[in-house]
């Protein structure tokens, strides 16, 4: 068995995937809740069975992907490509969670098996201690709360889409190892939740960078000195969320030859990009008024050391009528250079603009109180500069998902 360690991140190789998945299913369906002595334990889970078909788009080969392509999850390198057959891997996943608790102390773990990565990954593993009724502290591995839906990005049933809008919800790190302090309070009809976090994250085979460096590439990423927080204010039908996170980031592009037998790379060379600071700013406004749903989200990421910025916006409007929920979504991503895009310490680079715009129409039908069916049409238009690489072009994709929580 080849085991890649990245902090608490574990990836199980092909030989164990089927066994792991079967174990997850068995565990999820047999364990639900119980008590042993003073320890209360509970088990929950979720899954999404998704299929998709690329309808049309720009026919081009990009970074070993046979396009047209639509990236449904950057962090997992989940890509719908130009093959004519139905594709199930990008959006299908199964997650199980177990929690054991006793008198204000609890331990939670969540494992997710994804079709895109072909592996089962430890996503959450943290201990929680309730300092008092309003404040708690968590220590361990958690989701990095960069975006509004970060915490539930894998739980299809909690989302109005078959997959998250990729332009905004696409980044290289989604978890971190560290500490988080949560404070929750109420006054009048307002509820506020604030989190302060600090930690680090490393990933020894980043899915995100396979999109940019090639399907067979391997890039290691390291986020150090992560700290920041978020504040959510909600009252009745509306919710506003602010987030700020900063870290130092470093990417190590490993060149080598992939050996499918050993599931590892024969190292040839590596390029270590300079350690650089990034600052993430986010603002979300969400309304759920009578049957109308409105979601807007803006994220900006500054990379002062690398001389570029990311901007992403999302607008969605939906309506809930009995079991049906149609929603229209517009999203846009733009990466721009500043100071002529000079990359210090490596070489001057002629950075062109990377711009994608996505329009989606999704319909959700609630099959039961714990399951739904969704159909979604995505139309992505690539407005990147002609010189920008990789240029994935346009894509029109149809996806269906069945989501369930248990």
């Amino acid at each position: 068995m080849v085991l890649h360690h990245s902090g608490l991140h574990m990836t199980l190789n092909l030989n164990n995937r089927i066994l792991t998945t079967l174990t997850l299913w068995f565990w999820a369906f047999t364990v639900h809740a119980g008590q042993v002595g003073n320890i209360t334990y509970s088990g929950n889970g979720y899954y999404t069975i998704g299929i998709g078909k690329m309808l049309s788009g720009t026919h081009v080969n990009v970074e070993n992907y046979n396009c047209p392509c639509l990236i449904s999850d950057y962090a997992q390198a989940a890509v719908y490509d130009g093959r004519s057959s139905l594709q199930w891997k990008p959006d299908s996943k199964l997650g199980v969670q177990g929690t054991a608790s006793n008198k204000g102390v609890s331990l939670t773990t969540q494992i997710v098996a994804r079709g895109a990565s072909g592996s089962a990954d430890l996503e959450w593993l943290y201990g929680n201690y309730d300092l008092n009724d309003k404040m708690s502290i968590q220590l361990g591995r958690k989701r990095l709360p960069m975006f509004y839906y970060s915490d539930v990005q894998d739980i299809g049933f909690a989302l109005p889409w078959t997959h998250l809008p990729p332009g905004l919800y696409g980044w290289e790190a989604v978890n971190y190892n560290g500490v988080n302090v949560r404070y929750q309070d109420h006054w009048e009809r307002w509820t506020s939740t604030a989190n302060l976090l600090a930690g680090s994250e490393s990933n020894n085979n980043s899915g995100y960078w396979k999109i940019y460096n090639g399907r067979q590439s391997r890039s290691n990423i390291n986020w150090s000195n992560i700290w920041g927080g978020d504040l959510t204010l909600s009252k009745d039908w509306h919710e506003t969320r602010l987030v700020y996170i900063q870290s130092n980031t470093q990417e190590n592009l490993v060149s080598g030859e992939w050996n499918p037998n050993t599931q590892s790379y024969t190292l040839a060379s590596s390029v270590i990009y300079p350690l650089a600071k990034q600052q993430i700013y986010g603002l979300t406004f969400k309304a759920d008024y009578h049957n109308w749903l409105f979601h807007s989200e803006i994220v900006q990421i500054d990379h002062p050391g690398l001389n570029y910025k990311d901007h992403a916006q999302l607008l969605a409007l939906g309506y809930h009528y009995e079991q049906w929920q149609p929603i229209f979504t517009w999203g846009r991503y733009k990466g721009t250079a500043v100071n002529n895009g000079l990359l210090p310490g490596v070489q001057p680079w002629n950075y062109s603009q990377d711009v994608q715009q996505t329009v989606s129409i999704s319909i959700r039908y609630d099959v039961t109180a714990t399951s739904d069916l969704k159909v979604q049409f995505d139309s992505e238009t690539d407005h990147s500069d002609p010189g920008y690489s990789p240029n994935y072009g346009n894509a029109r994709l149809l996806t269906f998902t069945y989501d369930r929580v248990f």
Binding site: V152, F157, A369
Partner: protein
């Protein structure tokens, strides 16, 4: 008389079960000093937003099983949301450890017993199941 009895039996047999759930009350332990709760306070307790009662007690909300008509009636009339929307809301909290859902009980009878036995417990039940040993603090009906 016989004709009226037949009509009455017909109504009882064929009347949708949900109509029996349309008089739901929220009850607490008699030792809990809370006499009345507002709709917003009940929403906060059962959606995990704020479980601190004015009596100083931290509420322990109870949920009836998913098959109970009273459960769907309670949430849909309390919040205006379907059970699917409520469960999606809980999925966001459960899988991120942000809040604990109400404790699931097997029946209204078990809910009543827990409220009688536990000073912190709070449950919704059909009015005709409410024991005289508990206090009604909120009424949810179609009137």
């Amino acid at each position: 008389m016989g004709h009226r009895l037949i009509v009455l039996l017909f109504l009882i047999i064929f009347c949708p079960a949900s109509t029996f759930a349309e008089d739901v009350v929220v009850v607490v332990n008699q030792k809990n000093s809370v006499n009345k709760l507002t709709r917003d306070e009940v929403i906060d307790i059962f959606l995990g937003r704020n479980r601190q009662l004015s009596s100083g007690v931290t509420a322990l909300p109870l949920d009836l099983p998913g098959t109970a008509d009273e459960r769907e009636y309670f949430y849909s009339h309390l919040t205006g949301k379907s059970m699917s929307e409520i469960n999606a809301y809980w999925a966001r909290l459960i899988f991120t450890g942000r809040a604990t859902p109400p404790t699931l009980v097997r029946s209204q009878e078990e809910a009543m017993q827990m409220v009688i036995d536990n000073r912190s417990a709070i449950s919704y039940v059909n009015r005709n199941k409410a024991s005289s040993q508990v206090r009604i603090v909120f009424e949810l009906n179609n009137k």
